[in-house]
Homo-oligomer: 199 residues x 2
DNA sequence: CGTAACTTGAACAGTTCTGTTCGGGTTACA
DNA sequence: TGTAACCCGAACAGAACTGTTCAAGTTACG
């Protein structure tokens, strides 16, 4: 029985795949309706080549989302989540913010062409990271427990994305965003009847 | 000099226009990418007839958004905004919630085919209503003043739309939504160092 | 160096939408 | 009751996109 050789792509093929993924993240991050052709062009690659590696637009979008999240995970995994949950959350917000600002409409593209289940599956790791921090804060009595963790995480998600929209609308400047987000979230997470953190 | 007769549409034409607008609000409220043909069908009207009243998809979408907001304004204008700003805000949230739940993706459709300026212009009245209430709360010292009114209004906007998404994702039930939104917003609006309202 | 893997533009088929035109029928309304 | 306003289906032109095929090049790599 011959050893089953694992079919490993050629070097130029792997390079092109990487270029395509980078381009997809970048282009879809700005225009969620960007065509496959536009992505191929941005990657400096023929459209046929792209289809050779990604069978359909759907597959490409999912791979791009996965790629963006994987890259983000590298940074997020380095954030120190120990100590006071409120301070830890502020650090996490600060790191997440840049990532969201880049990939902005990539999520919209995903929502257009991917099933909710797949999107959720790809987001599993980052969501879990935030969820555990929030839960720890609840256990410590620092974060409110009268609302479910999923809701609190969702609020964070929406406020961050909302901040990106505010910047696009010119009603907020990028440097001001992290402070506004943190101040809003920390107050929103405060247990009923307890004082909010003073800036 | 003959009196310049104001060209008033015939009765059936006005009826069809109304039907089209209602259908547009309903259909686009569920699928932001719905085609003009689908809207015409839902209105029980020929596609040609629709184009006779609305020159392009863009015009139709804007008219539909305007229509939805105008209908909503009727209800919102009846909300009592006097007294404690926090209680008033809760009443306003409660009334706004139903409206948003219906028109959900109509806004997405608008964002796809309308310029941000036009969207903002159409939203002028409801935004102003909330803004003034928030500002009054700031003057009374009940709402925080360390963040701009536009930001606070934006947070409310995003949390409400986020709640709609949570419901779609099955992580929140419709009856629970108003309570979660109010609790979140009232805490988020609390001035730094002051206790959040106890549920 | 030779071959298999890979890339490429051009061209094609198929779909879906927008917006227009035409001709004949119906309806409001004065 | 007459006429202008209106409605409608069918059919058309045009654009944009997806995904495939082909034939000819280029490149990695054993």
């Amino acid at each position: 029985m011959t050893e089953p050789t694992i079919a490993r792509p050629r070097a130029d093929a792997r390079r092109n795949i990487a270029r395509i993924l980078d381009a997809a993240v970048e282009v879809l991050g700005e225009d969620p309706t960007a065509s496959v052709g536009a992505i191929a062009e941005a990657a400096g690659v023929g459209r046929v080549t792209l289809y050779g590696h990604f069978a359909s637009r759907e597959v490409l979008v999912e791979a791009a989302l996965q790629h963006a999240i994987d890259r983000g995970e590298e940074q997020l995994s380095q954030v120190d989540l120990s100590g006071d949950p409120r301070a830890a959350l502020e650090r996490l917000i600060h790191s997440s913010w840049q990532l969201v600002l880049q990939s902005q409409s990539l999520l919209i593209a995903a929502q257009d062409s991917l099933s909710p289940e797949r999107i959720l599956a790809v987001h599993d790791k980052p969501v879990r990271r935030v969820s555990e921090l929030v839960r720890r804060g609840q256990d410590d009595g620092v974060f409110r427990s009268d609302l479910p963790v999923t809701w609190l995480v969702g609020v964070l998600h929406n406020v961050i994305h909302g901040a990106a929209n505010e910047i696009n609308a010119g009603r907020l400047t990028a440097p001001d965003a992290p402070r506004a987000i943190s101040a809003t979230i920390l107050a929103a997470y405060t247990p009923p009847g307890r004082p909010t953190p003073a800036g």
